[in-house]
Symmetry: C2
Subunit: 460 residues, 2 copies
């Protein structure tokens, strides 16, 4: 797909230079909006208005929606007010809001000035919902039906009003602005008779899945995925229907939230920009806070080592195993924390299940700890002592290392599964409690265990 577009973009550049506009237009109309947007991304800003004017009205608007904010801004600055007005007339409200949210204030003013009054009102309403809420990603355009309409009436209504709606496939049955049921176009088309009333074929009752304007967008996407919904109705605090979130937005939310989770789990503050669009300075700003915090908190591990300096000096061989113990502890803890973070974000786990989770992790830790301790003992004796002939590494040293490993794994797994659940309970993002954070805690624990056992068994 991408390679195909790369070649097309070069061809289009040559054609534009030769002023073969009709040919450029012929090529563009065969393309999908996201691919047309990619062509714009490869253009110089001066070329954009020219290229944009070659597109048929609908494709122009659809491609505009798919562009990155940089291209949208360059384009808005390059086209006339009347052209902008035409674009705005073609947009769905939720897409218009997405664009407005990314633009600087003076561009926003121009956009709002060129929208019709109804759309301006709806854009402003949606802009008032908190970021990442259902209200902020919904569209206010949907097909509303009355319960006492016939199937024939309903199809007629869809035919008359559907052109402006992002989806017509699920229609919402309202009574005094309250949602009382949903009807799919499939059930309208498959209804045995055109004279049946809507309330006789609609889905209603407690099976109706809805969200509130303030529901988090991640929860919205999860519910749509769970119930296989094309669109989900959004209600306000008085239970009146105010809009719908459509499946394409839910898919985008799932992608964005996954990226955000992964960034947080790797110790970065989340970023809206794609990697290739981010400057080193952007990346620096998102990465330095956690690096600095974790570096400073490593002071504790330093202190622990310093306070056992005498013991280490007496048994220099012990130092060689510090990285292995720390890494194994960190890896064990990350495994548990990432598993639990993911289960929390899929809604599979609740705080009340913490004892069950800990018990599961303890048993897993015992299995992992035993297996690794045995493997490690063998490795130390065979490789470090016999093969490499290091006389400092006695059987007792090996025992200290392996015992430490088993205990560290146990601590790491318990810490790793507990912290994300506590974070969630306290209203924080559990993803913060992933590798980097867990590693720092487990490092300190593993060193304390190591030196404690070394002192006891080796009598240092």
């Amino acid at each position: 797909m991408t390679e195909h577009n790369v070649r097309i973009e070069n061809t289009l550049q040559v054609l534009l230079k030769d002023k073969k506009y009709a040919t450029v237009r012929d090529i563009l109309v065969t393309m999908n909006p996201p691919d047309v947007a990619a062509v714009f991304a490869a253009c110089e800003p001066e070329q954009m208005p020219l290229l944009f004017r070659l597109l048929p009205k609908e494709l122009a608007a659809e491609s505009f929606v798919e562009m990155e904010p940089e291209e949208q801004e360059a384009l808005i600055r390059g086209i006339s007010d009347s052209e902008l007005k035409q674009v705005m007339a073609e947009l769905y409200v939720d897409d218009a809001v997405d664009i407005v949210e990314e633009m600087p204030a003076n561009v926003v003013q121009r956009i709002l000035a060129q929208s019709d009054p109804q759309m301006r009102k709806e854009i402003n309403e949606i802009l008032q919902y908190p970021e990442n809420s259902a209200g902020s990603v919904m569209t206010t355009e949907y097909v509303a039906l009355n319960p006492n309409m016939t199937v024939g009436d309903a199809i007629l209504r869809i035919r008359r009003t559907g052109v402006d709606k992002e989806t017509i496939y699920t229609c919402y049955v309202l009574k005094n602005r309250l949602l009382i049921g949903t009807v799919s176009v499939k059930s309208l088309l498959l209804a045995p008779s055109d004279m049946q009333t809507i309330d006789s074929i609609m889905e209603s009752g407690s099976g109706l899945v809805t969200v509130n304007t303030h529901t988090d967008q991640e929860e919205v996407a999860r519910m749509m995925s769970k119930y296989n919904l094309l669109a989900i109705p959004v209600l306000d605090s008085d239970n009146r229907m105010v809009g719908i979130v459509t499946f394409d937005d839910a898919m985008d939310v799932m992608e964005d939230e996954t990226t955000e989770d992964m960034e947080i789990m790797a110790g970065m503050t989340p970023s809206d920009k794609t990697y290739l669009k981010s400057t080193p300075w952007d990346l620096f700003k998102h990465r330095i806070p956690w690096l600095a915090l974790l570096m400073v908190s490593a002071t504790f591990t330093g202190l622990i080592i310093t306070s056992f300096e005498a013991a280490l000096a007496a048994q220099v061989a012990l130092t060689a195993f510090i990285p292995m113990l720390m890494d194994t502890g960190g890896n064990s803890g990350s495994q548990s924390s990432v598993t639990v973070i993911r289960a929390l974000s899929l809604g599979e786990l609740e705080f009340s299940e913490l004892p069950k989770v800990i018990w599961k992790e303890v048993r897993t830790a015992v299995l992992c700890g035993l297996a690794l301790a045995v493997l490690c003992f063998g490795k130390i004796i065979l490789v470090d002592r016999l093969l490499l002939g290091n006389p400092d590494i006695t059987v007792m040293v090996a025992a200290v290392v392996c015992l430490t490993m088993a205990i560290t794994i146990l601590c790491a797994k318990v810490v790793g599964c507990t912290l994300p659940m506590i974070a969630k309970r306290l209203g924080f993002d559990p993803a913060v409690m992933a590798s980097p954070f867990i590693t720092t805690i487990v490092d300190a624990l593993s060193l304390l265990v190591y030196f404690g056992i070394a002192k006891a068994l080796l009598g240092l």
Copy 2:
């Protein structure tokens, strides 16, 4: 949602015990299939057939699809052949395949025996496609139209045949089994006249987005999300249309692939079971391979420390900074690798962009390295030397530590961004090159740099 179901499940248990079956049925019919499935998950296996018989035919089949394999198996073993036959008649082919894939052989034989011959044939066909390919997740039931039909004919055809199709909203225009265009029900309903022909309103040409039966399911989901598609057509190697993948399956694929990526990135082999369903033994099997591999590979870091034992003995203070240097290196490397892994999996990056990526990471590393080195120098002098009064920590020691830190961050970021891209190029999953793997490599690098610089600057 979940809490609500928990309470309903308790009520249902009481009602079942009291044999109030009519009431149980009245409650169940108001519920959505995924919630009914949750009720079954909370039941004893003996209760399941009884509960299942209370459900209306369609809800029974839809709930069956939403259950976990354990419940499905218990249920199939508990119901009669004719009941199973009824369920199979209600299922879409792709759902039937999902179930068959999870069942033991003797259950599969019973399922196939109770499916009608056409479905049996289609199940067997889909089962032959490689795991995780478009062919394995597609359904073979879709609405096919002829290009010279009128809009009226097409609507009639949908009304007659649509009931068995998972989606009717995108119809596929075929000529000699080759896909020549798509028509949405929206454009059928909004067409100005019922007498227009399908080929005059269909979308066609190079804008037609299709996948091959062997396309990876993650790529399928990404394309559906990029092009906002409700369903994507699947072609065989002769470009004949064989099925469609629908948006609900794409959403499931996105969730599963994210979980898999996160598991791999945390050093686990991916698992199909949910966390709460996994036994400690399951978790152990998925976690031990990487733990063992990474533990053994830490032998190298041990060797490096051993070979610098004399230097460490001469300057014991150096040991205290080992954990901080290793962790900061590991964290820096993870940040880069996770960012690159995610960009690769979103299709934002290609191998040809490796030089650009390295250059971006080098500049970011210089910024992060400088900032952290300054911060670290201040911390060592203020906290470790002055506040804690450790006389071993000289300005030269601080300089060695900070210089090591800056160089380690540079190495870590370059290694972190390069390895995932090389892995992808070689056909491996880039997610393997995340924290645990990168940490092990960066540990060794940081120790070599540390002791190298210490020898040079401190003359050990």
